[in-house]
């Protein structure tokens, strides 16, 4: 791969938490390249290091060892911090922890204001961001009166107003109900397809991985799987051993394969599984 198409690159990056009696190496020499326009699902157990790794990608944390390069700028270089954070935005688990404005549009204007964007431009960016996530009608509402799903959309819009190239979602759907989750994922998919914004979705919900075109599994601070969803979920035994799940239909095909009825497990959606099972039923 030519270095030019990598948006984020990590070289042997490690991170050690020193603030406890026993220092914990949360990220252990990860080397990875992420291209513009990719949609990545990042999975791993609680404490696997995935959130720490994500925080290294937009320089919220700085590496203990190794380096993180965003568009050829080194995250360790203090002068480039704003350059990086402007391009790699992050949205967290609890929507209440990241909202600061008293109205939705004020909240969204906060980012570009801090970047020194001129007033007129801020206005148009806010309108555009609200339109892109489909919440223009909420612009004058008080954020704390919104539902969880709406709040997370405000979070996405706030990042969009900074014209990012990448959005990292750190378990941003875990507090949402199925409808809220579905709508947020829909918005994110559209941003990925239309605006070519790179998406990194850190999640425990395996079915969310089916939206991605690349799945990365982190365990004990290292990458243990990296491939398309179909490739990664095929190895059901390995995934289960790590302590993760596969979608229900994948598990079903895995059992059918073990019993000798299928050659490989390559379905993660209901539709794909249906086609495979129809074949064995003839």
């Amino acid at each position: 791969m030519k270095s030019i198409d990598s948006l984020i690159k990590t070289n042997d990056v490690s991170y050690v938490y020193l603030n406890s009696i026993n220092p914990i190496k949360a990220v252990n020499k990860i080397s990875l390249s992420i291209k513009q326009g990719e949609y990545i699902a990042m999975l791993g157990r609680n404490g696997s290091g995935k959130s720490t790794f994500a925080r290294l990608l937009n320089a919220l944390l700085l590496p203990s060892e190794g380096e993180v390069i965003v568009l050829s700028k080194n995250a360790a270089n203090e002068d480039d911090l704003w350059f990086i954070r402007k391009r790699v935005g992050m949205i967290f688990q609890n929507p209440d922890n990241q909202i600061i404005g008293t109205t939705v549009e004020e909240d969204i204007a906060f980012g570009p204001e801090n970047l020194g964007v001129i007033q007129q431009e801020i206005k148009s960016r806010v309108t555009q961001a609200l339109t892109d996530v489909g919440i223009l009608d909420l612009r004058e509402r008080a954020p704390h009166m919104l539902s969880g799903g709406q709040k997370q959309k405000v979070g996405i819009a706030a990042i969009l107003a900074m014209h990012p190239m990448c959005i990292i979602m750190d378990e941003s759907t875990s507090m949402l109900d199925p409808l809220g989750r579905e709508e947020l994922l829909k918005v994110v998919s559209i941003l990925n397809k239309k605006e070519k914004i790179t998406i990194i979705n850190i999640t425990h919900h395996m079915e969310e991985a089916t939206f991605a075109n690349r799945v990365i599994i982190i365990d004990n601070g290292k990458i243990v799987e990296d491939g398309t969803p179909a490739e990664v979920f095929t190895d059901v035994d390995k995934i289960t051993k790590i302590g993760l799940d596969v979608p229900q239909v994948t598990l079903l095909l895995h059992k059918l394969k073990k019993a000798g009825y299928l050659k490989k497990v390559d379905a993660i959606t209901v539709k794909q599984a249906y086609e495979r099972i129809v074949q064995i039923l003839e």
Partner: protein, 285 residues
């Protein structure tokens, strides 16, 4: 006869008498027997949380009545009631506050004036079930992992030996292995100690795996109430109120449209496997 929870014509509104008044429960009738494992599903704002907060008297109904094991929640004896009904709220670990895990679990027992020896015995028993080692018990709650914190918080409820355990989204934020561990413990308590379990969850897969009966809430009312296979076979009605069915349910319905001899009322991987194998063997004969 074995009835442990009875709601008769229960209505409740928030912000009563203001322009923001919102009817959260509207004429709810519900009866749950001792030893049932019931799941309550419904989208956000459907009234699930309001409903469960009525079960230990945290909220009292505007109209109607709630009888828990013969006791009206509007009457005296709230302390007894809360011992009987343990509610584990979302993210219960946010309520941990003591210096050590042991002290945190002990807190409720002290409030109920349980003698020291008995406290010790109960904490030991619960810690074993929830796999909280002696080492963990002496730690500060803030030193624990997410899964351990969750179990520590649940231990504080279980140690009061509730007859009814209400769980509101107990695995939100836990990874799949942690989720399985926790539910296996709940299932054990349900089977061995005969605890009545009421589970509020957005995960239809978990509901399919663990519950016997499903109550579907919508706009403050009970929209459906039945056994798991009956409820999940009504996909269109669930979709209409923004709920879904497990992946396997969708798959089996597609297969049933192709071949009507395939049973569509299947929601778990194991049962789907058996059904498909049966069909394959038959086709190959």
């Amino acid at each position: 006869m074995n009835n442990i929870i009875t709601l008769s014509n229960v209505s409740y509104s928030y912000n009563k008498g203001t322009p923001l008044e919102k009817k959260a429960l509207n004429q709810v009738f519900l009866s749950i027997d001792k030893g049932e494992f019931v799941a309550i599903i419904g989208h956000t704002g459907s009234g699930k949380s309001t409903l469960i907060q009525h079960m230990n008297g945290l909220i009292k109904p505007d109209k109607g009545s709630i009888i828990i094991d013969g006791q009206d929640t509007k009457g005296k004896g709230l302390k007894e009631l809360r011992k009987k009904v343990g509610i584990v709220f979302q993210y219960p670990e946010h309520q941990l506050f003591e210096e050590t895990v042991y002290k945190d679990i002990e807190f409720g027992l002290l409030k109920h004036s349980i003698p020291k020896d008995e406290r010790k015995k109960r904490i030991k028993e619960i810690a074993t079930i929830l796999e909280l080692s002696d080492d963990i018990l002496l730690k500060s709650p803030y030193e624990l992992s997410g899964g351990q914190k969750r179990r520590a918080a649940i231990a504080g409820i279980l140690v009061l030996q509730p007859e009814i355990l209400v769980l509101d989204e107990p695995v939100a934020g836990l990874d799949p292995a942690g989720c399985k561990e926790l539910f296996n413990i709940v299932r054990q308590l349900h089977l061995i100690k005969k605890i009545t379990v009421i589970l509020v969850s957005h995960s239809m897969e978990i509901v399919a795996d663990y519950a016997d009966r499903i109550i579907v809430m919508d706009r403050g009312q009970i929209k459906m109430d039945g056994l798991v296979d009956e409820i999940f076979s009504r996909e269109d009605e669930l979709r209409a109120i923004n709920l879904s069915v497990p992946q396997i349910a969708k798959l089996m319905q597609l297969l049933n449209q192709l071949d009507s001899t395939i049973n569509s009322k299947i929601f778990t991987v194991d049962k789907a496997y058996d059904e498909i194998l049966k069909k394959v063997k038959k086709n190959h004969d």
